[in-house]
Amino acid sequence: MFNAFLGDAGHLFVITSFITSLVVAFAYIKASNAHNDLEQKQWKSYARGAFYLHGISVLGVVGMLFYIIYANHYEYHYAWSHSSRSLPAYYMISSFWEGQEGSFLLWIFWHVLLGVVVINTNKRWEAPVMAVFAFVQAFLASMILGVVFGDLKIGSSPFILLRDALDAPIFATNPEFVPEDGTGLNPLLQNYWMVIHPPTLFLGFAITIIPFAYCIAGLWKKDYENWVKPALPWTIFAAAVLGLGIMMGAYWAYETLNFGGYWNWDPVENAVYIPWLILIASIHTLIIFKNNGTALKTSIVLVIATFVLILYSTFLTRSGILGESSVHSFTDLGLSGQLLLYLLFFALGAIVLAAIRWKNIPTSEKEASAYSREFWIFIGVTTLCLMSFQVLIPTSIPVWNAIVELFGGISNMAPPADQVEFYTKFQLWFGIAIALLSGTGQFFFWKKMDKGKLKSELTVPVVLSLLVSSIAILVAKVTEPAYIVLLTASIYAVVANTSILLRFVRSKNFKLMGGSVSHIGIAMILIGILFSSGYSNVVSINNSGLLLFKDAPDDANVENLLLWINEPREMDEYELTYKGSRMEVKGMPGYVEKSDLIRTNNDHIAIARNNLAHGDKVYFQKGDTVGVYAENTFHEVLYKHKETGKEFSLYPRSQVNPNMGLIASPDIRRSFGKDLYTHVSAIPNDEEEKEWSEREEMEVQIGKQFFINDYVATLENIERVDEVEGTPIQDGDLAVKANIRVLGEYEEYVLTPYYLIRDRMVGRIPFTSNELGVRLTLLNIKPEENSFTVGVETTQKEYIVLKAIEKPLINVLWAGTILLMVGFGIAVNRRYKEFVMQRDEVKKHKNKGNKPQEKRKAATA
């Protein structure tokens, strides 16, 4: 049913959310510039009211859009192009943010929640911080505004009607036309990681605004030092959430995409990595500042840089500028100008403000000694910044081309051809520096150092790590010099940080453990990356020696294996057999053979050709109607270990999508030491493109053997049936079914062609077996000779082309990620408690100053 009200209401909410965010900004500016307490109080409560109104409008927008998707209102372009009826509810959540508008909305939504927390945890900084906050929010809300003034388009609304978005002729005759079904969700996004990964990433993006807002508030109110304490826990929290989001994305890529890894140095991936490194750097300088008052200017620069880089990455991924260099950036929605304005407004605004205040920002003229912790942390921070810079420069090549072309020049620079090799070349050595510094820095952090002490502190960890590394190098056969250095440095970082950690455990100083735990995590991540990428090993080497293209380079070794169904092939230490294609049936575990299901007109419903069982339990009877996940086909590959004889099956997946063709996802055999990662690289084309041999006619008799496609076959019997492929026949019709048993390599198949007589016309329904590569037709029944004519056509048997990669020690990478998050958690907790203590100190102090008004305010808050 056509319902224009939903979209109008949604659009109204968008407009109110935009206007209220401007009101909030204005009122908070008034509050923070107020001349007396009363005026401030009034403006503040006004601003708070406006903010809550803003929050309600945002919830309204979210609710409307979600309802439109959930209730299948395909008269709306957003629902139509991102969702479909067969989608389970949890993937409707993914459809919500699949598009640009929805993902902006997600970001706006997180800001609302964060704003509520800021308002309620920090009254002192509330006004200036929330003013900055509200400005950012206004820019974001403008992105989904969808208002057009003449040629000027501001924002892209998620509530556009299909008829306004598409120029289809049907709308001329029937403006109220609502399509039956939506076009569905990109199958790559139909993965549980895609339900939780984008919200995590956007929460990370959203939190970075808080340190930035504090920093700007500090500069604005000329209170250069006090913003650090409340900003620090937020900075660490942002790093934790953004880091978690990045790693979830990596894990999703590893599990779902078929490039065989977790990090591809795609510009879209780089766009989040660049600000994250600067964010980590800013945590370190903020801590130095808190401890001894140096590095304030550096902190301010880094906090601003983090936020500007977040905006820059938003610009890169959403303006369409990466179109030619990235495979998965958003396409241009015509918002690039608006995004650029957003970026420049905050970048220039912050830089100008910092420049004006620069001379007044307190600095310490102390020269950092080489034995001070500040010196070492500062080197670490510099390394992080250079690391980030190294990724920023090549990622910005498309932007460079655009700028040159803007000024009439020609630039055809392309990103480095082998991105992984190019980035690894640099990032590897930065990683080594990070490992060494995070190991050594910790010693300086907790003790006053001099030459003698340093020597005695470092001796044991250094000797121990050299010992462990040499064993590891020998056992794992690491020969590449750079890898040896990285491994040794990382092991040193683990050993050194563990020794510090043990000291905390012994003295029960658990709240101080954050730093060493996260540094161990980082070192483990480095070790995991080193082995899983540096020693990733393609095991599916083609050894057939077939070469078709004589022009091809001689060194062309093919890293794929062709597997015909039921024909075992050797691969590395395994014998592989492709067992056929499988599907998942709703309401039962495991997989079902594709040939056990009869497809219907509805893609998502099939009829069981045989009883469907998993283990001993029969879930569906023959003839039952079952729901299937139509997009996914799983290819069962049986692995048999040649020596031990142990067997296991992997089910790499292929997905058919009308818009994107075929997409392969891997299946992974996980073990403690390494993962065996398998995906299909090619599968046969669709049914209609198959080439069949000419039909061969055979005279067969019941019970007698004959041969089809080199298999032994027997016509068991011919039976009269009342239904054909699950559909009852009509009155007066006659239908018979032949049961032909065929002995395959591993199992028996029963092929059942039908023969149907209606109004003296003959209908023949052939039976196709992909496994055997045959199509049988019951051509003729000759009762007088007691024989039957069977038509046999053959085709290529089913096959898959498969790629298998070993990933050693990848679990160390994931374990390191978890430790990093635990470390961040401990640190956030500690820094938040410090902030609360300082806040309540100030409050107590103020209350003692005999200000009854203040007291009442504190009590009511």
Partner: protein, 133 residues
């Protein structure tokens, strides 16, 4: 000289190295003609060529030739200067290959064949307008 100055000089040196190296390793978008000229000059750097799959006069994609073992394939591509060229790719045909509106091949010439190390495809995305079925 103060320690900070030395430090500053080192940082600048590293930054310059990074920029120089990026400029050096950066590939270029070129046409087949230019790519061939580069290869004849003995330049073996990988380059990007942007183009489309070759279509016959009826608008059907033609010229795709998979190898017998299906583990590699070659195809005809037309670059932005309408120049046709056979491209060899030493991996199975990507599943959505024939649907791509635009292909970017990254590689270099080996004799008369362009050998692609990587193929980037632009497929009709979900964001583009579609027909209502």
């Amino acid at each position: 000289m103060k320690k900070t100055h030395i430090f500053g000089i080192i940082i600048i040196a590293v930054c310059v190295t990074i920029i120089m190296s990026t400029a050096g390793d950066a590939s270029t978008y070129v046409s087949f003609k230019e790519a061939k000229a580069l290869a004849q000059d003995g330049e073996d750097k990988k380059i990007h060529v942007v183009g489309q799959l070759y279509k016959d006069h009826e608008g059907n994609i033609s010229g795709i030739q998979p190898s017998e073992d299906k583990l590699s394939f070659s195809f005809m591509m037309v670059d932005e200067n309408q120049e046709e060229q056979r491209v060899f790719y030493n991996e199975p045909m990507p599943a959505d290959f024939t649907r791509s509106e635009q292909v970017v091949v990254i590689g270099s010439y080996h004799n008369d064949v362009f050998v692609a190390d990587q193929i980037l495809m632009k497929c009709p995305s979900k964001y583009q307008e579609k027909e209502i079925s």
